[in-house]
Symmetry: C2
Subunit: 437 residues, 2 copies
Amino acid sequence: MSKTIEKSVTLASNSVSTDSRRGFLKGMFMSVAAAGVVAPVALKADDAAITEEAEWGVKLGFPVDKYGYGQRSPYEHNVVRRVTDLLSSGDMYASVAMCPIHELEGGIITPNGLFFNRSHGGTAIIDPNKYRLMIHGLIEKPIVLTLAQLKRYPSESRIHFIECPANGSAEWRGPQFNSIQFTKGMMSSAEWTGVKLSVLLEDLGVKPEAKWVLAEGSDNSEMGRTIPIEKIMDDAMLVWGQNGEALRPDQGYPVRLLVPGWEGNLNVKWLKRLEFGDKPWHAKEETSKYTMLQPSGKAIRFFWPMEVNSIITSPCPEKPWTDLKKGDVVEIEGLAWSGQGTIQHVDVSLDGGDNWTEASLKGLVLPKSWTRFSMIIKWDGKPLVLQSRATDDTGNTQPTINQEIAAVGVESVYHRNAICSWEVKANGEVNNVHVRG
Amino acid sequence: MSKTIEKSVTLASNSVSTDSRRGFLKGMFMSVAAAGVVAPVALKADDAAITEEAEWGVKLGFPVDKYGYGQRSPYEHNVVRRVTDLLSSGDMYASVAMCPIHELEGGIITPNGLFFNRSHGGTAIIDPNKYRLMIHGLIEKPIVLTLAQLKRYPSESRIHFIECPANGSAEWRGPQFNSIQFTKGMMSSAEWTGVKLSVLLEDLGVKPEAKWVLAEGSDNSEMGRTIPIEKIMDDAMLVWGQNGEALRPDQGYPVRLLVPGWEGNLNVKWLKRLEFGDKPWHAKEETSKYTMLQPSGKAIRFFWPMEVNSIITSPCPEKPWTDLKKGDVVEIEGLAWSGQGTIQHVDVSLDGGDNWTEASLKGLVLPKSWTRFSMIIKWDGKPLVLQSRATDDTGNTQPTINQEIAAVGVESVYHRNAICSWEVKANGEVNNVHVRG
């Protein structure tokens, strides 16, 4: 396969000649059970952190509940969502705050304070006592509900990711950000609690001619999106809880729509009304944005699910291997997800896609949810080009960049799920590069 | 069965004559699929919250990332951990902050800000760069690790509850707090990330004569606890991540021991060292506290796992049914958990234990983890005495109060897992009562 590698930031020539390296991986893969998984560095005996009593060992700490609502360690102040003028209007009202997915400490829960945030008119702060939800149109018993009334319905909790369809949007024409946070941080995952719409609608009655639902937010942007009735009745929910507490304002407090696995902005925040109709609405946000342009210039009319995808989170540009020595054993870890089903397997390549080895999935493997994958290798200190390629239980696999471009061109900013590549240099630095495949 | 009902707070006579009520439950149970699950109240047409444009619909909200680390809604300020002088030394350094388990919005994740907190010398704030972990004693390669070295080991993530063995301690001699937060709030649940000790010890080598492990904290209380090697090698972990971010200082930042399902204080925070030996230590905290007194005055020598347990979280004293009308359909919901296995089923009684009906388990059902149960009923507006009774996959079931007292007396403050009762009055008020059974 003829491939080119495009780099972000630097324009160094491609030093990776993949063809000559076939077979060089032999002996690199390790099982967790292998002895000497990590060879800890011996510390100096005169390490003051060992020989001297720490301040916190001799003094009382903070009172047990100085904070009724707990705080992070001051040493974690650098783990934050990040914004960039390049992806916003500059005033940061209608913009996006990126999740530090590489700094999440494992698992499939994003703490609410780090959940990515996108809004079209800033974050609305809603008084829950004045919150009303209207459900109307082709409904037998149209109604306006208070929050307390809505929460009377039997609840369910499910773990799902939400991903903005523009995640990775900067990458269509070549590598841009040498950063995982800015290339893949428009997504996060949480345990959501609310009522399934199918349960609520059994109560209110949907007229047989209802085929489409308009979901509209109550914030000043009046975000409106249209959803087919089949998805509404399948697994959509009205959610008020996120990771065990009320939604944060930036996630739509007090109520948002959850459309598991589909485009992030279908999960309308600060939800004001659901209208049931017999035709799609083609709302402002569906025509001015969130359409998938083809090479012909025509848009694909409906394109909702976030397709199978993956990214290696460790190492990555912000989390390099510069502290590793030749021969060190190290864990390659990443996230895989699919809005169409459950992750079936993830393959990892160390040589830019010539050779693939199946990674381990670890922890919970749930539908329309982040899934962690892992591979332990003994790094020989030579340059690598790391890739991950996920496959879901619908049989879909991530395309190469060339395959994706052949299918949809490069005009779109949405739904990018081509295989990503991290170049690992001999000094452990990691760069975002494009291997077209 | 002859039963008495003891009340907390008020001393009203027992108005519940259970024998005469057998069979009164007929027709009360509803499936979620039943039409008219909730009959929403019609709102007045002149409701200003419907007819007038809300402020947040016409004004820009907050910039998309005013907070690099997101904040809760100001309207949720009352959802907090709570302390009481009755359960502390008054200075609140060595004390406990109770989790509002009734205000968690479903699911099995407690947000880190609300995770219960118990400490014996206040919350230590540790500089992660000065953190050292010593692993020594009967170990082939004794070592001192930095945090970065520890985090090089392959990680795992698991959802587990942690419960202080003193949870419910005030209840042994009769109902005391008319509150779920103060009777059952010494527990929370999270997704933990770290390395399994079995993986790390494969690297370091455990000498065959090692049978016991001392875990010691680095805070000023020098919390020390002894754990048998079998548990250490089975599922114990060194954890640094909680719900996707670094442990909070009040949960042991940067590293705590996780001993899934066992007494909360075995999960030593601010972990300083693990020493491997051939005999148990009988550390200060194991003799002065955390022993299980029997009626004879003798202590049970080792008693680690938190046994099968459950509590109805809705309704409860802080979350009554005072807004419900006769004939309303309502969800009874609660938490079940076992430190010895997986919840198999939960039965709910509406009449103080005379009749039992199996509840639905909802969401994830995982070992040594909180499990949500649910039952939908149509409330006829008559008084009820609600109970839940969980059974785990070891076959263990919660005892009645009399059964538990017969086994261990009332001298202990630990390991209470007797069936709890909430009295629901005709006006919807809910009280903590004891039905001895």
